[in-house]
Symmetry: C2
């Protein structure tokens, strides 16, 4: 995985905000936020909090949505899940 | 509200897919999917199902995310909520 990627999961929003800000403060010109399924809303929150509250020199450069096939943990059957990738940069 | 807008809320995903497809079949060249908060993930699902499964001639033209201020239903205090707008078109 790209070292400038923050994978958004089930932790609190501020964990991911901090992870993104740390990447930026360590000199990354761009940070990619990735999420799947219900974490997509949280990825949008993280992007908004980083760009509007903490690092106003950072903008949203690109947003892509996609569909990924994942195997169900219970049944082992493949199922479709939506994903988002939000690119932040200077 | 723009008549070509589908506002995504708490109903099942397929309700919104059908609403979007109906707009397209009635001659709309573009459809806008809007959602706030936790419904954002559902808006992404709706966009993916419309463009990949049912109306492959329709593409995602633009995605914007934003922050809106809403009044809490319980306390009446203003709070920030993320929003998404996904533009679909031919």
């Amino acid at each position: 995985m790209d070292p400038n990627t923050v994978l958004i999961g089930q932790k609190p929003v501020m964990n991911y905000v901090l992870a993104g800000l740390t990447l930026i403060q360590n000199g990354s010109d761009s940070v990619s936020l990735k999420a799947r399924g219900r974490a997509i809303s949280k990825a949008v929150d993280v992007a908004q909090i980083i760009t509007k509250r903490f690092a106003t020199e950072i903008d949203i450069k690109n947003i892509e949505i996609n569909t990924e096939v994942v195997e169900s943990r219970e049944t082992g059957k493949p199922s479709n899940v939506s994903s988002i990738e939000i690119q932040l940069g200077k």
